[in-house]
């Protein structure tokens, strides 16, 4: 696969060099002279770009694992810095025993439940606040008072109220996910073009269909952005919540194996946290594309 990527790169870069002689700024005249259609040139350029990307990504990981291996070899201490091979071994062992899937399932289930609760609480309230100026004026100051207190700061109080278990991480995550969802829903509802609402009203659309077919779709892009922010916050908070106040889950696992000084397993679980977080984000992006295909390309970082 790597060799193929390199081949593609070289064959196209030669052609690229020929078409691009006048320099980066002068693509258009060169394309008009040498290529039959501009779209084919564009396709070639895209292909070459993708191939370069792939090649550089491979280089990137080779560099990373190479440096890690070197550092591990020079430290030569399994507890302080296990080598990539040792971590891979731990990962394999944990995978065969099924512990990775167990803990990841515990954490993702908590995540899903928390996001669901946050959605059920925040989105209706967000619609109400977005549509009712007075309600917004009364509730907004209170929300702005509460919002700066991070979810993490609730952990000691939540430990006292809920004890160690499922309720604590779920509570912290609901709290963290609530604010971005609410604020983005309010902003989304408020940003709906009044012409749309007026047009629908002129045509005699009733309240419920108005909400469902006019306001909701128009506010959805903002809500989805809020949902992704909510996920990012919750995923960060669950590790802290589980590490301090849970008998299981990914956050618990990393600290548990640290206490046992089984560093390869600590690193393996950190890797799993990254992979699960990445996969969830990928899922949300796909969801965003399916639900709001018209917003493609207007990505908010």
């Amino acid at each position: 696969m790597g060799a193929m990527a390199i081949n593609v790169t070289t064959s196209h870069s030669r052609q690229g060099a020929a078409t691009n002689l006048p320099g980066r700024a002068g693509q258009t005249p060169a394309a008009a002279q040498n290529a039959p259609t501009p779209s084919r040139v564009a396709a070639h350029r895209l292909q070459r770009l993708a191939a370069t990307r792939l090649f550089m990504t491979l280089c990137s990981f080779v560099l990373f694992f190479g440096l890690w291996q070197l550092a591990a070899a020079s430290v030569d201490n399994r507890v302080l810095l296990p080598s990539p091979a040792q971590v891979a071994g731990a990962l394999y062992q944990l995978g065969v025993e099924g512990e990775i899937f167990e803990q990841a399932l515990v954490s993702t289930t908590r995540l899903a439940i928390s996001l669901l609760i946050a959605v059920v609480l925040a989105i209706p309230l967000g619609f109400a606040m977005g549509l009712n100026e007075r309600l917004n004026a009364y509730l907004d100051p209170f929300i702005e008072l509460l919002r700066p207190i991070s979810g993490i700061a609730w952990i000691p109080l939540a430990l006292f109220i809920f004890g160690v278990g499922d309720a604590l991480p779920v509570f912290i995550m609901v709290y963290v996910a609530f604010f971005p969802l609410l604020l983005n829903t309010v902003a989304g509802v408020r940003s709906v073009d009044p012409k749309l609402v007026n047009a629908a009203r002129t045509m005699g659309v009733k309240r419920a269909p108005m909400l469902l077919h006019v306001l909701a779709p128009a506010a959805l892009p903002m809500i989805m952005v809020g949902f992704r922010l909510a996920f990012a916050g919750a995923w960060s908070a669950i590790i802290a919540a589980e590490l301090i106040g849970s008998p299981n889950g990914l956050g618990f696992a990393i600290e548990w194996y640290r206490e046992l000084l089984m560093s390869p397993k600590v690193f393996a679980f950190i890797l799993v946290i990254g992979v699960v977080g990445y996969l969830c984000d990928l899922l949300l992006r796909a969801l965003q594309r399916v639900l709001t295909p018209w917003t493609e390309g207007t990505e908010l970082a």
Partner: protein, 268 residues
């Protein structure tokens, strides 16, 4: 936008009505809380009046201010480390394409790893003192700084750079006099976001270190909260700490917004 809304609201209603409006819900909720605490008839139950008493007590004792300053000191030093690495790397990645292509996959792989996931490694490497907390803060603050610098440097108007090059400005001067000022808005936005996550991260780190080292020997307001939970079971003091955490977060955010307005008056 919110300030415009606020001004509009002010012109529509009298100032007093507006004040009543913003204080009504918090006041009602605080009153309910106080009544609940009186009815609960448990001296440990947190109540607004006891929280205020505890606050005065903790401030007079000096412990609260010291712990807050200690946490703030860690946040600022961790932030500075992240600023240095993030901006230098960000400028390199934003202006040189192969560096960006090379490092982007690594950065993106680390991004979904939460700062707290680094805690076990930090404890293994640095023990349970300040360096462990610092490294978590620096890790948390690094990503918003780096990504926003890359974005800012990458989106500098090419015409400006070409114009400077045409006039024979040396590369280094183009960087300091054209690229950096043009990407300042992005970098400052990154700095504000970074400071926000850094403050959350220090609380998490101190809580975690406190919880795992059994006694919160490392200090800071996060460790203080854990001691109040685990040893004194003083819920009023925990609530005081939470309010201080929120207040500092708000203060940091406002300070950075002020800096953005001062440093970039052209953006309003």
């Amino acid at each position: 936008m919110s300030t415009i809304d606020a001004h509009a609201a002010l012109s529509r209603r009298s100032r007093r009505a507006w004040l009543a409006q913003i204080t009504l819900v918090p006041l009602v909720l605080v009153s309910i809380w106080e009544i609940w605490a009186v009815l609960a008839n448990d001296p440990r139950a947190p109540a607004p009046t006891r929280v205020i008493e505890t606050f005065i007590d903790l401030v007079a004792h000096g412990g609260l201010i010291l712990a807050t300053l200690q946490s703030l000191g860690r946040v600022v030093s961790g932030f500075c480390i992240a600023l240095l690495i993030g901006v230098v790397l960000g400028v390199l990645m934003g202006s040189i394409r192969w560096v960006r292509n090379l490092l982007d996959p690594i950065v993106e792989s680390f991004r979904p790893i939460a700062p707290m996931a680094i805690l076990p490694i930090a404890i293994l490497w640095f023990g349970t003192g300040t360096p462990a907390a610092l490294s978590i803060v620096a890790y948390a603050a690094f990503f918003p700084l780096l990504l926003n610098t890359v974005h800012g440097v990458g989106n500098v108007d090419r015409k400006l750079v070409l114009a400077a090059r045409t006039m024979g400005v040396p590369r280094w001067r183009i960087l300091t006099n054209v690229v950096l000022p043009a990407s300042l808005p992005s970098v400052l936005l990154g700095a504000r976001l970074a400071m926000g996550v850094a403050w959350t991260a220090i609380i998490a780190a101190e809580l975690g270190v406190g919880a795992k080292s059994g006694g919160g020997g490392s200090g800071g307001i996060g460790a203080m909260m854990f001691v109040f939970y685990a040893y004194n079971i003083d819920l009023n003091a925990i609530v005081v700490c939470m309010i201080v955490v929120g207040f500092v977060a708000l203060l940091i955010d406002r300070l950075f917004r002020l800096a953005e307005r001062r440093l970039m008056p052209w953006r309003i």
